[in-house]
Symmetry: C3
Subunit: 130 residues, 3 copies
């Protein structure tokens, strides 16, 4: 399993991690299988979506903040329940097929770490099975 | 990896793809393992839910359109940010256990390709590991 | 594949199933691989999030009930469309890396079965590949 150490720089951020995930897949030597990109945090998430126009990730982040706002009728005292809820909605992992030794991403797809309660030091795990 | 070529016929659609996914699992010969159903697009998604009553998929589609509407305060100029957001919320893949050579779906579960920006030609990948 | 038989006790509940999932991973003998926790139901889901403060799971449940309410302009006649929609949003499975024979969960992460239409008898499947 590959462990990536990352830093986010703002409260909310979509960080493109496609390159290091591809590096981990290549290093595994697996030609046909699966890559799981896993975030071990509860106020962040992993998703796959468009990476060509950064406005898309900004629209996604803004929509998530409307769907599960920072301020709400929440019980949890740390003030970050909105971030936990967004993490559950988006999910803490992405599973991507590996074909011919590469991630089978679509033309416009990139892999993102979604930060909902930053800035923080974050980890992402990449596990590959063949 | 199996590549399925599909066509959606409307702007929003939940297309039942259970049968071809089951065919891909059978063709793989894997008795115990995982099937990943993966959509390489950024305005579509894959989900597992009830297939017996088509009203459920219609309710899901309508709810997603309320949660992430087509019209919004979006930056992305192509006019389909709502579709990107729904894709992130639902996710571009489903991972289903394989037991005794078959998808371990529940009684009411079917696998759907969710179209959010159709009609279009779409692909779905099925990768099986054992 | 391990089959867990569970009972939920209220209409909405987040049931911590981390312990039995860890038991299934240990029993598999797999040191490096993936565990898929899969719910074969269409009005429940599986997610990974904070387990230390039960207020977080309560906030998640309440937020999901606001995002996809029980009462809505729904077609499906059984009155549980809100539960189906929440199941699609959260997803019916979680995929977690296994490293050194254990689930690679983060410090605060626990695995939950989310009940949206209980109380009911529910099953959860755990499939492990290495």
């Amino acid at each position: 399993m590959t462990v990536m150490n990352l830093k986010t720089v703002s409260a909310e951020q979509a960080l493109d991690i496609t390159r290091p995930v591809e590096d981990a897949v290549r290093a595994s030597g697996v030609a046909e299988g699966l890559a799981v990109v896993y975030c071990p945090h509860t106020t962040a998430a992993v998703f796959v979506n468009e990476g060509a126009d950064p406005d898309v990730a900004a629209d996604v982040a803004a929509a998530l903040a409307r769907i599960a706002p920072r301020e709400g009728p929440y019980r949890h005292a740390e003030g970050n329940s909105g971030a936990h809820i967004r993490s559950v909605l988006v999910g803490c992992s992405a599973t991507i097929p590996i074909a011919r030794g590469r991630l089978a991403l679509g033309t416009w797809q990139k892999v993102f770490l979604a930060e909902f309660d930053g800035p923080r030091s974050r980890q992402v795990f990449v596990q590959v099975v063949g």
